[in-house]
């Protein structure tokens, strides 16, 4: 296990967001975190990424207990994250955002030409063609913004890649591209933590599945131990959608 | 004080005087705009300008850097004369030097009498603040004040500091300073009250601005203190208060003259190369407005010439 939590918990003021959650991610494996809205998925990965500090339990990197004091700490240990809600600086241009915190340099200077070029290329490679990498991120569409964040995390490929609902705002095509990236990262030996609501996205790429409900763990399953059907039904609903389709037909 | 006769009843436009030929003169002081003392100087200068048919511009800034920039500006405009108050002679040395080099006559006013000649000014009009402060100190001492509160309404203002210092020289080491904000009078009252409440020894208050004087008068009333109040400069309210025996006296520098006379001198210099004072400063005060002459001065203060 590169990254592991044991009985980890987190409280915000009077809100218990997470209780006694244990999980892990190994090199070359994808751990999917699934759960309803407000289940604590984002909170969990923010602890893994050093944004929040856990209140109880232990966090281990390579088997040794750690406590991240800042996201920089986590980054320095090779943990890169794409956040659901704090990914980008709206007023900054796409290329500046892309390289934020890991700027390429040429002598003392920020190598602006390279940064522009690489940002454009990486985005194109992901199937996102941003018209103008000088555009402020705030003027991008919701999905474009998400894509830029993912392209960045993939580009700076670390040991562990954490993705918080990367596919939710994406079209079918772009979602497929992201899933392919996840698979490729896994094949290169990275550990991936992948959060999603969509069991159809989770099952094909996942190796282990952590199910969260109202802040507590409903168990961690290896792919061998769970069928797609079981996973979908655990995700509360599953076949419901089929049924819904009938129900929604005009009476 | 030197009585009620003022320049308002101006000298008749003299046909005998040589033609001034519509010169331009710049008055540059260290008073903030709207300061009641410097406003009277401005009125004086402008009255003289009207009198002699010359153009007078007045500017004031308490920051010596800004003041010297204003002098620089006047020099590049090639005015016919500059009137400048020197609260900080060192800082103005260079700018005044430039004016003198450019052959622009300079008259210094108010403070800086000691450096005036050395800087090459024609003459100096007025007297330094510490002389005025000493004058106030003497009067207060005579009135039996042993411990004085000197209310400074602009921290770090040299002129105000010198006034307090002058009073201190006469009264000895029993002068306490209090800093207040002149743009918030409610605050001034309560601060002076606080001081009087917490230090019963204080039996005299010296304010350096007429608005502060009124605020201090209320404070003395509020705190039930017996302290005697004196102030620098006049306003209609202060004159009323003097008449009502709430204010002992007001120091009157007759600053109207510090505006009026330099313009007169410069006009004369321009037309006739006259110089005044023979190397000695022309003193304008200090005078004192007390109960005795308050009545006469009241109207003049209301018109902005005292």
């Amino acid at each position: 296990m590169i990254l592991e939590t044991r009985d980890i918990g987190k409280t915000f003021g009077s809100v218990l967001a997470l209780r006694d959650v244990s999980m892990g991610v190994a090199a070359g494996q994808v751990t999917c975190v699934l759960g309803d809205n407000g289940a604590g998925k984002s909170t969990l990965i923010k602890i893994l990424a050093g944004v929040h500090q856990h209140d109880t339990g232990t966090l281990l990197v390579d088997g040794a207990e750690v406590r991240f004091s800042s996201p920089r700490d986590a980054l320095d240990r090779g943990i890169a994250t794409v956040y659901q809600d704090l990914a980008m600086i709206p007023l900054m241009s796409v290329w500046r955002n892309f390289f934020l915190g890991s700027e390429p340099t040429k002598g003392l200077a920020f190598d602006v030409a390279t940064a522009r070029r690489v940002a454009r290329e990486e985005l194109k490679a992901m199937g996102i063609d941003i018209r103008d990498v000088d555009q402020p991120v705030g003027t991008l569409s919701g999905g474009e913004r998400q894509s830029v964040a993912i392209a960045r995390a993939v580009h700076f490929g670390a040991r562990v890649l954490i993705l918080d609902e990367p596919t939710s705002a994406l079209g079918v095509k772009q979602a497929g591209v992201v899933l392919r990236y996840v698979a490729r990262a896994r094949d290169r030996g990275l550990g991936v933590v992948f959060i999603t609501h969509n069991p159809h996205h989770a099952y094909p790429v996942g190796d282990r599945f952590l199910l969260l409900n109202r802040g507590t763990s409903m168990g961690e399953y290896a792919k061998a131990d769970i069928t797609p059907q079981a996973l979908t039904s655990l995700m509360a609903g599953g076949a419901e959608l089929e049924e819904l389709a009938h129900e929604l037909k005009r009476q | 004080s030197s009585g009620g006769q003022t320049a308002q009843s101006a000298p008749p436009a003299s046909s005998a005087a040589p033609q001034a030929g519509g010169g331009r003169f710049a008055v540059i002081t260290h008073g903030a705009p709207g300061d009641s003392f410097w406003d009277v100087v401005k009125n004086g200068a402008e009255a003289a300008g009207k009198q002699y048919g010359v153009r007078v511009t007045y500017q004031g800034d308490g920051d010596p850097a800004k003041q010297s920039q204003l002098i620089d500006q006047a020099v590049s405009e090639k005015v016919d004369g500059i009137v400048v108050s020197m609260a900080n002679p060192d800082a103005l040395k260079e700018a005044i030097g430039k004016a003198v080099t450019a052959k622009i006559p300079v008259v210094t006013i108010n403070s800086g009498a000691d450096s005036s000649k050395a800087f090459g000014a024609l003459t100096h009009v007025g007297q330094s603040e510490d002389v005025a402060g000493r004058g106030a100190g003497e009067q207060l001492k005579a009135a039996g004040v042993t411990k004085l509160l000197c209310v400074i309404h602009e921290a770090g203002n040299v002129g105000l500091d010198q006034r307090c210092k002058g009073a201190e020289e006469i009264l000895g080491g029993t002068v306490e300073r209090l800093q207040v904000d002149v743009s918030n009078l409610a605050d001034v009252t309560s601060k002076v009250t606080a001081k009087l409440q917490s230090d019963q020894q204080v039996n005299g208050v010296l304010s350096l601005n007429p608005a502060i004087a009124i605020a201090a008068r209320d404070a003395i009333k509020d705190s039930g203190s017996q302290a005697k109040l004196a102030t620098f400069d006049l306003s209609a309210d202060v004159v009323d208060a003097i008449k009502a025996d709430e204010v002992l006296f007001a120091v009157d520098q007759q600053q109207y003259l510090q505006g009026y006379l330099p313009i007169t001198f410069l006009t004369l210099y321009k037309a006739n190369l006259n110089t005044v004072g023979g190397g000695l400063p022309v003193n304008t005060g200090p005078g004192f407005v007390t109960e005795d002459n308050a009545e006469q001065v009241a109207k003049l203060a209301e018109a902005g010439t005292r």
Binding site: - | G34, D35, A155, S183, S198, S235, E302, G304
Partner: protein
């Protein structure tokens, strides 16, 4: 899962819950400052002393509360300080030079002040320029008008003699009088301050307008998107500040019966400071009226307390600065304890 209790809410004491309110941090700051001075100066804690430092806190507080509303709504008003002067000048000039009744003169002052507030709001909402710049412009322009017009009419930089005007007695009693309370006379401005704070709190917490104020300050675009009349809300806020400026200007003019042309300059920042000490965010969308009122008290206490202690006048601002930092720090620590995260 049961409906009534949610197992995910940790039980927290009432005390801790209360502390989350923006103003309660400020209360702690206030207590700290009060205790600090009270133990050292008996006059400070005496009724007369309290009446003394409450007085400037009241006029500051009226303004701070109005400015706090405006700041919660996401805007600044730098012209508020000078506007107190403008209102006072109009009152005294009309009453003494043009023979107006004091009440009528006050009414004219009110109309002018509201017009200035309206203009501020209109320019800010129309041009979308930052209010910091727009009201800075108004600030400078009013400053010039105050001086220029006063000089033009009176020939001096102040107008006085309000005492002799018609209707002075009544207006003075209502706006600038004193009330006896246990043998000590308190300024009636304190009552106005309490009224203004109560009204502002009600508006913020219990009216539609209050909801809109938080919303336009928190995220104007989102607020507009759900149909909040953002422009009207902001204009109303600027007019509220102008109203407060008129009230304070009138109180001071009636008390001192004369007004100087440069009154109020520089006060605009003190108002903002009081609001911030009281827990308002500079970025808008968060704060409270009571907090701002308490911020004014903290400022007033520190300001006067130093005089009561008789510390060297030269070092006055040094102590004042230290005091403010300590008060806000105490405020902050309390809120940190109460809730771990709040951006």
């Amino acid at each position: 899962m049961t409906v009534t209790a949610d197992e995910r809410i940790a039980r927290v004491g009432l005390a801790r819950r209360l502390l989350i309110r923006p103003e309660l941090g400020a209360v702690v700051g206030m207590v700290v400052v009060f205790v600090f001075f009270a133990v050292q100066s008996p006059v400070f804690r005496s009724p007369a002393g309290i009446a003394n430092w409450l007085d400037p806190a009241a006029t500051l507080g009226i303004m701070a509360v109005a400015v706090a509303l405006l700041m919660i709504g996401g805007e600044f008003d730098l012209s508020a300080g000078v506007l107190t002067g403008t209102s006072g000048l109009i009152l005294v000039t009309l009453a003494t030079r043009f023979g107006f009744d004091v009440w009528l003169a006050m009414l004219v002052g009110l109309v002018v002040a509201l017009a200035v507030g309206f203009a501020n709001g209109l320019v800010v909402t129309r041009t979308k320029l930052p209010s910091f710049i727009v009201t800075l412009g108004t600030f400078l322009m009013l400053q010039g008008v105050n001086l220029g017009v006063t000089k033009a009419i009176t020939g001096t930089v102040q107008v006085s003699g309000l005492r002799r005007a018609d209707g002075f007695e009544g207006a003075n009693a209502i706006f600038a009088g004193t009330i006896q309370l246990g043998g000590t006379s308190f300024r009636v401005a304190i009552v106005w301050w309490i009224l203004v704070t109560a009204a502002a709190t009600w508006v913020l917490m219990r009216s539609k307008a209050g909801n809109w104020i938080f919303a336009v300050g928190g995220n104007e675009q989102a607020a507009r998107a759900v149909g909040v009349p953002a422009a009207r809300t902001k204009i109303a806020l600027f007019m509220t500040t102008a109203f407060a400026a008129w009230l304070v200007g009138s109180i001071l003019a009636l008390r001192y019966t004369s007004v100087q042309a440069n009154i109020g300059i520089g006060q605009e920042f003190i108002y903002i400071i009081a609001a911030v000490i009281g827990g308002c965010l500079l970025t808008g969308g968060y704060g409270s009226a009571i907090g701002a009122a308490i911020g004014a008290v903290i400022f007033g206490m520190a300001d006067k307390g130093i005089v009561f202690l008789g510390w060297d006048a030269d070092w006055f601002t040094f102590f004042l600065g230290g005091m403010l930092l300590l008060a806000t720090l105490a405020n902050r620590l309390v809120r940190r304890y109460a809730e771990e995260v709040r951006h």
